[in-house]
């Protein structure tokens, strides 16, 4: 049931599975090791199944998320940008819930989010993140 291929790409550095009673999976795409790992710890603690990726490329190679899934995308990814990942997700026949996360200044976030106009339903969380913001999404 887990969308990691037999030999995971090197940047899919971490993927953990717990709490099989929950059907909703959470996908995290964040290049910063510390932030990614802390998100994994927190979400896992909340009892969800987590898939974590260090960049957009490895995420797109894995199985696409289900409509009930939640995808957390950092906007400042190396390589394929967070915005491009979101665009790809929004083009799915039944897109998952998507939340963008970013620690960039507002002006820069607005610049990159401008591309997403018309794609309603993409929420934004700014770093530093707190767990309440995450739990509110679940």
């Amino acid at each position: 049931m887990i969308g990691i291929k037999a030999s995971p790409p090197p940047s899919a550095m971490r993927a953990r599975i717990t709490g099989t009673q929950s059907v909703m999976k959470i996908h995290i795409i964040e290049d910063d090791w510390g932030v990614r790992d802390a998100l994994v710890e927190l979400v896992r603690e909340l009892g969800y199944t987590v898939l974590a990726f260090g960049d957009g490329e490895s995420f797109l190679q894995a199985d696409m998320p289900a409509p009930d899934d939640l995808v957390l995308v950092d906007l400042g990814l190396p390589g394929i940008s967070g915005v491009d990942v979101i665009k790809r997700l929004k083009r799915l026949p039944a897109p998952p819930h998507v939340v963008a996360i970013s620690g960039q200044p507002r002006a820069q976030i607005e610049r990159s989010m401008r591309d997403l106009r018309g794609d309603s339903g993409v929420r934004l969380l700014r770093k530093p993140l707190v767990s309440e913001a995450i739990t509110a999404l679940l």
């Binding site: 802390a38 620690g103 200044p105």
Partner: protein
């Protein structure tokens, strides 16, 4: 005769062969604060610092005996002592005259106080300018730095909240050894992130703190590493930075913050040169030739545009829309103030630019071996040589 000498801008002192002053012109009165009447007939050693005063008679004697001139005919920079006991730098040249009354020496003195002060101000200004450039570079990086600090802070908050939840649950379910081990592991990771935030701040603080230029023994590779980390903040992480460091390099006598500033400037330029290019790569290497440590920064960008090459190192020369054009000018100034040089291979037509910094090093062993040809090898500013009057 005396009145003519009084109109001279330079100080003029004439002494007899017993070093007694026979003439002390108006310019000397202004310089030293003595009236001529107070000094005529007295030994000239009253105008020199104590370390010279004792030996001065000796010089005159020695010269009379051996004809060996320590100062005669040669202008030298020496210290002189005012009536109020303070010292000031002068340029002194001494001539000799054989007269019917015996041998006389004529000293011509030029007050160097103003020139010294200007030199000091210039050095100080240069230091300020270098620091200013450093601060303005950080200013441009400001939001990137905030972002960089945001990452560990986010991680710390989430780690702590994860542990908090776990512990709250443990209240109901009780502790298990396995769960406790997991909680400790998370706390350890949170500490690691806090240290990461601390070291970012540490690096930045080093660059902005106001301090005079200094010289100490530094490990070049270590310094370069730190500076690269700092430069990478907020830069495109897809660019490959290759570090090719020479092993067992000798220590470098340098101002560590200024050397880092060169690295930051060169590596930033390299990042900007490869921006938006496929397969961008920056190679930073260190090595050694017999007298210098070499630091080179090479990229695979477009190389330096022909119209930029002329006066490349001049301040405010920039090929960028929002460039200040200070990076290379400041970097060269720093290299030169360390007795070194900043050189460029402009590349072009499929080759990126390569900048090389050559810095003379001074190891204890080498300086002992080559004390004879010191000066060329010696650090940037040889310590003030001892002068005699």
């Amino acid at each position: 005769m005396a009145s003519v000498l009084d109109t001279a801008v330079d100080g003029i002192i004439i002494i007899d062969e017993h070093a007694r002053m026979m003439m002390f012109n108006k310019a000397c009165e202004r310089m030293f604060g003595y009236e001529a009447a107070e000094v005529i007939g007295r030994n000239v050693s009253m105008l020199t610092p104590p370390e010279h005063a004792e030996v001065h008679d000796g010089y005159v004697e020695a010269y009379k005996r051996t004809g060996h001139r320590k100062i005669i005919g040669i202008g030298r920079e020496v210290r002189a002592k005012r009536k109020d006991g303070t010292y000031f730098p002068i340029d002194l040249s001494v001539g000799e005259a054989i007269t019917p009354e015996g041998r006389q020496f004529i000293g011509i003195l030029r007050d160097l106080t103003a020139r010294k002060e200007t030199e000091r101000r210039l050095t100080e200004l240069q230091g300020d300018l270098i620091r200013l450039a450093r601060v303005s570079a950080l200013d441009e990086m400001g939001s990137a730095i905030a972002h960089e600090l945001n990452q560990p802070l986010t991680a710390i908050i989430l780690y702590l909240q994860a542990v908090e939840r776990e512990l709250r649950r443990a209240k109901d379910t009780g502790h298990s050894e396995e769960a406790d081990a997991r909680r400790f592991a998370i706390i350890k990771k949170a500490q690691g992130e806090a240290q990461r935030a601390g070291s970012i701040i540490q690096r930045i603080r080093q660059l902005v703190e106001k301090r005079g230029p200094e010289r100490k023994d530094v490990d070049l590779n270590h310094l370069v590493d730190d500076a690269i980390e700092l430069t990478q903040i907020g830069q495109d992480r897809i660019v490959n930075v290759v570090r090719d460091y020479g092993a067992d390099l000798p220590m470098l006598q340098a101002d560590p913050v200024q050397i880092q500033q060169i690295v930051v400037n060169l590596v930033r330029n390299a990042f900007e040169a490869v921006r938006g290019r496929e397969g961008g790569e920056i190679i930073v290497s260190t090595s050694l030739d017999d007298r210098h440590l070499l630091l080179s920064v090479e990229d695979n960008g477009p190389g330096i545009a022909a119209e930029m090459l002329d006066g490349l190192f001049q301040a405010f020369k920039t090929g960028k829309r929002s460039g200040m054009g200070l990076g290379l000018a400041i970097s060269r100034t720093i290299a030169q103030s360390h007795g070194g040089e900043l050189l460029v291979d402009p590349g072009g037509s499929d080759r990126g630019a390569r900048f090389a910094v050559r810095l003379p090093f001074l190891s204890a062993q080498l300086s002992a071996e080559s004390a004879a040809d010191a000066g060329t090898l010696k650090g940037p500013r040889p310590s003030e040589p001892k002068r005699e009057v």
